[in-house]
């Protein structure tokens, strides 16, 4: 069994990459993909912790359960996010968020 720390390192790397993507991608789709990476990193952490660190057998499923819930919520977020992207595309013919600065002042 691989120890805990390597998984945590991988998940930290995924978070960093995801944040980088969210900060730099011009396309809204790219940002959403980066956010999926971040959520994945969190879920990976949850499962790793639940398998390696727990105080009793009764809570052995806690981490996996939260990973499953995180997946469901990520799927919901992706569905809503992507329909927003479609809306934006329909209104302004682009999905690049740096072209969209309606929020300015």
């Amino acid at each position: 069994m691989i120890p805990l720390a390597p998984f945590l390192v991988v998940s930290a790397a995924l978070v960093a990459i995801g944040v980088f993507g969210a900060l730099t991608r011009r396309s809204a789709l790219g940002i959403l993909m980066s956010i999926e990476l971040i959520i994945n990193a969190a879920a990976l952490n949850l499962v790793a912790f639940s398998q390696h660190i727990r105080t009793s057998d009764a809570e052995s499923t806690a981490g996996q359960m939260f990973a499953l819930f995180a997946m469901a919520i990520a799927a919901a977020a992706a569905a809503v996010g992507l329909s927003i992207v479609i809306c934006i595309y329909r209104n302004s013919k682009t999905v690049n968020v740096d072209k969209i600065d309606l929020m300015r002042w």
Binding site: A22, L102, M103
Partner: protein, 650 residues
């Protein structure tokens, strides 16, 4: 298979689902689905009844429905002798009413919708009977309330029917809220809503002698009884029941005999442990019942609409049952509920046959002499009329006698009232019978005809039931029915047989019939019109139902409207005037202040604005309106916070 009783309400529910979704496709055959479902339920109910009778055991089956933390809510069914008898009665009478409705509703465009709602109604009633906790009972109760709204307002294109539906719904709602609050109090105090747990918990709580707990439980019992008042149409919430005549006649039969109004009485019987422990609540129940019995009978004397007379007689008989429960004569009350279901369903269906054959005329003054034209209807109707009047050996006599016996021993005042009511009952029922069936037809333009066989068959079956059902409950058979109810020990008020009570009740019944004969026979000895004139105000009071509807209108509806109008005027005159005056004053002040504003305040504001403008030129640089820049700053903030946290943790 202990879950067998759970299937009984499910079958009509399935029938409802099937009919409501496939109504147009099924057409006429919708009635086959409905009747088939309730017939199967009846067979199952007979099975359950025989099993409960033979073994005197209580069938119970439940499953865990929801669990949160330590608290679990179980749902299930529980059938004791009372429940089994009710199940049997409801399914048998319900099935007969449905068969009758095949003939009565034939040719109606909304044929299948009618059977869908009747099935749902049955499902609600059966669910209520089998429920093993107050919550499931309440759900079924509400299903029935909804269906009563649908069915009373079934001809919703008629404004009076729509209004009657709304009236029934809103009036019973008052009772429902009482029941709901009672349930909450009960849950709060006793911590359970399951009947078998209540049986243990309530006596234990009452035994504590804690005044607060007693108060809460008495309040819970009374609030539950408020539910009964609404559903079983006791005074003062009785006003919806006569108006409920707007529905099709099979619905009236269903509501008055087997289901809706019986539900209220059944509720008191089910939660009788609460009442038995707190006599104060019991007294209220008895007096409300006794008053309703007498009050409704007085109204019934003068009504001319055939269905309205029956409606008030239902009110009166329900008053008997509630009074019996209140007097502790638990078995007698439930026995009367069963016999009443049979003869009242028969009366309504007979009246329906008359109306059906008489081209939808309901005014008795236009009828008469129908004996020859509708022999089957007339004979069965006579049986039912004799039964309700309390002529031995028909069923109504035995059950009514039991109740009067209980009253005789417990409360002489109520006994006198009950006996007098029995006299009135015999009188107005035979008034109805003579006016309708004997003599000559007063409105010659209408050609009455006998109903089809599908309507006659249920009448005959019910007539046999109404005639013979009292025998097993009579003292000859050792009160067999009453014993089969598994009367709980706390409700066992057994009274010795009294020849005085029985003789007197027969005497008043015969006297009532005789008086009716004198007044309404083909050649009356006493002219009813003269009697009416002699009674003067009393007559008009009864004819106008003691003005209860008008009193409600005057006390509740009109004041509310007047209040609204008054508020509006108040608004318009005083408040608006004040506001306008204030406005004028303000304007005068404002022109003064304007000068001050212009030079002093504006100066300061402008100065501030200049400063802000200068600053915003600097800070505006980061307000780019671009998501990315915001994200970058947010992430930077998160990083800084994370660093600080780690720093603090060392």
């Amino acid at each position: 298979m202990d879950f067998l009783p759970a299937l009984i309400p499910v079958l009509p529910l399935l029938a409802f689902a099937v009919i409501i979704t496939n109504g147009r496709r099924l057409g006429w055959s919708a009635c086959l689905v409905a009747v088939g479902a309730s017939l199967t339920s009846a067979v199952l109910a007979a099975l359950v009844y025989s099993r409960v009778l033979l073994s005197h055991e209580t069938l119970a089956w439940s499953f865990e429905w929801v669990r949160w933390g330590e608290t679990a809510l179980r749902m299930g069914v529980r059938i004791d002798g009372l429940g089994a008898l009710m199940l049997f009665m409801v399914t048998v009478v319900g099935t007969l009413i449905e068969i009758y409705a095949i003939g009565y509703m034939a040719g109606d465009k909304t044929f299948s919708r009618f059977f869908a709602f009747v099935s749902l109604f049955m499902a609600g009633m059966l669910g209520l009977v089998v429920a093993d906790n107050l919550l499931l009972l309440f759900v079924s109760w509400e299903i029935m309330g909804l269906c009563s709204y649908f069915l009373i307002g079934f001809y919703f294109h008629r404004p009076s029917a729509a209004a009657a539906g709304i009236k029934a719904f809103i009036t019973t709602r008052i009772g429902d809220v009482g029941l709901l609050i009672g349930m909450i109090l009960l849950w709060w105090t006793a911590g359970t809503l399951r009947f078998d747990e209540l049986l243990l918990a309530v006596p234990a709580l009452a035994g504590l002698g804690d005044a607060h707990v007693d108060l809460m439980l008495t309040a819970a019992a009374l609030l539950i009884f408020v539910g009964t008042i609404g559903k079983s149409a006791q005074f003062p919430l009785h006003v919806w029941l006569p108006d409920a005549m707007e529905g099709p006649t099979p619905v009236s039969a269903l509501i008055h005999a087997a289901t809706m109004v019986a539900a209220g009485v059944f509720l008191v019987a089910r939660s009788f442990i609460l009442f038995a422990q707190f006599p104060a609540a019991l007294t209220v129940v008895a007096w409300v019942g006794g008053f309703t019995a007498l009050f409704a009978a007085l109204i019934a004397l003068t009504q001319n609409d055939i269905k309205r007379v029956l409606a008030y007689s239902t009110l009166s008989q329900l008053g008997y049952m509630v009074m019996a429960l209140g007097l502790g004569a638990y078995a007698a009350g439930m026995f009367h509920l069963i016999t009443h279901a049979f003869f009242k369903a028969l009366l309504f269906m007979g009246a329906g046959a008359v109306i059906h054959g008489f081209h939808h005329v309901q005014d008795m003054r236009r009828m008469g002499g129908l004996w020859g034209k509708m022999p089957w209807t007339a004979w069965t109707f006579l049986v039912a009329t004799l039964a309700i009047s309390g002529i031995p050996p028909l069923s109504g006599f035995w059950s009514k006698d039991e109740i009067l016996l209980g009253a005789f021993h417990e409360s002489p005042v109520l006994w006198v009232a009950g006996t007098f009511t029995a006299f009135l009952t015999a009188f107005y029922m035979f008034r109805l019978f003579f006016m309708t069936f004997t003599g000559r037809q007063r409105d010659g333009e209408i050609h009455a005809h006998e109903s089809p066989a599908v309507m006659i068959l249920p009448l005959v079956v019910l007539a046999v039931g109404a005639a013979l059902l009292g025998i097993p409950g009579s003292p000859w058979m050792g009160l067999w029915v009453q014993h089969s109810l598994d009367v709980p020990a706390y409700a066992l008020a057994h009274h010795h047989h009294s020849n005085l009570v029985m003789g007197l009740s027969i005497a008043v019944a015969v006297a009532g019939i005789a008086l009716a004969w004198l007044m309404y026979a083909p050649r009356p000895t006493i002219q009813p019109a003269r009697v009416a004139r002699a009674m003067g105000r009393l007559y008009t009071l009864s004819l106008n139902k003691f003005h209860i509807d008008e009193i409600y209108a005057a006390l509740i509806i009109n004041p509310t409207r007047a209040l609204a109008r008054g508020s509006f005027r108040f608004d318009l005159g005083l408040i608006d005037g004040a506001v306008n005056g204030m406005g004028w004053l303000q304007r005068a002040l404002a022109s003064l202040k304007g000068l001050f504003d212009k030079w002093v305040v504006d100066g300061i504001v402008n100065l501030l604005a200049t400063i802000v403008q200068a600053l915003s030129a600097v800070f505006g640089l980061i307000q780019t309106g671009r998501v990315h820049n915001y994200l970058l700053l947010a992430s930077l903030g998160a990083l800084v916070i994370a660093c600080l946290t780690w720093w603090n943790m060392g």
